[in-house]
Subunit: 253 residues, 2 copies
Amino acid sequence: MLYIVGFGPGGYETMTVEAVRALEDSDLIVGYTTYVDLIRPWFPEKEFLATAMKQEKERCLLAIQKEEDGRKVALVCSGDSGIYGMASLVYELAARDEALMKRIRVIPGVTAAASGGALLGAPLSHDFLTVSLSDLLTPLEVIKKRIRCAAQSDTVICIYNPSSRKRGDYLRRACEIALEYLSPDTVCGYVKNIGREGEEAAVLTLEELRDTQVDMFTTVFIGNSHTRNIHGKMVTPRGYRLEEEAAAAQERT
Amino acid sequence: MLYIVGFGPGGYETMTVEAVRALEDSDLIVGYTTYVDLIRPWFPEKEFLATAMKQEKERCLLAIQKEEDGRKVALVCSGDSGIYGMASLVYELAARDEALMKRIRVIPGVTAAASGGALLGAPLSHDFLTVSLSDLLTPLEVIKKRIRCAAQSDTVICIYNPSSRKRGDYLRRACEIALEYLSPDTVCGYVKNIGREGEEAAVLTLEELRDTQVDMFTTVFIGNSHTRNIHGKMVTPRGYRLEEEAAAAQERT
């Protein structure tokens, strides 16, 4: 059995009960060094194997190989195992063996869009685009086109991997695209180190966000034209019609 | 204290540890009838209050009122409490009282994009749009524009509320928009009753999806041009560059 476990933002209590049980049921836990270090204290009796950053393929192959050796393996991912997680890569690597495919079980988790959103308020109560600014594996033109399309259609945008050492100005560039369609006052937010030491959340305007430097452990939210700042919380209404009706009623009075 | 708890797709084990603790800590649990019935057996000692469908505002006001009466209240939402959940409405209704705002705690959960994705394979490993087809509170033109923009920019689409009695043909119409930009063979999937009785997952083409009737308890996934069907699993690669390189290498041989 190969579990691909999304363990959420990073605290034991933000894991699902199912994720806890899968990790308890495994005899080997495989993951990226930082995540393995995070999880180790909660499951002290388990064996752990860590691989470095950018070793995604090696990590998945290692997990598959150990499973084929007859062990119960959990491959851990932060957030959800399917959203920018390892699940797709494992399936691609397992495609050669249908029997192996059937021994894979994807265990979902709370993705950063949800955990970061909860800290900020409720920015994603309506339609949103989730987009990664990492162009390591995706052409930058594709990423820019998606941001443009979302801004054009007034869709809230949730940004994963907004920055890195080599991509220090990518968030600025994303904000500049959004500013072609949205007001500089559009309500935005970001959350750093969700559920971990150094957790930090801020609600600010799109113009301010453009001039903010964030790191790769940050999730960024760009609101739409309906998003409000309510006493420091970033809130996108669930539907827009009620709001329009309320505004129309107000005009009539 | 007013907890707004996302309890995930519907099983006890797909709740987070934090959600379980919040419900245990509450003395009153408020929610939509169906969800209250789902949760009641896990917390038999609690008091429950249920309100009918479409009574969202009344439900939130009830939860707020009980909290102001001095009780510890949990307002439950399926999936994540922030993604098409009650969190934004509660914040809007609490805006009148900053002290009340501070007593609200949003507890995120596993949203249907993640739980449905896990059952189908890994459809959301890369950028995606989450869109609701319910036009009760949002003009249909806005919804159609968002779908068009996502299809144009080759973004995977995850559809919430794809159908209802009055909107039986909305999924067909969404697929028709997508078909203007995507091949009829585009890999799609849907999941019904995630984590509950009657759970059902299917991987099919966009053309087949167009002619499929789904209900309101279904989450639908429209792949992008890179999404593959691997032994019945819907898999979107994490990045596209490797894939292009592999194809280019193959052409050279």
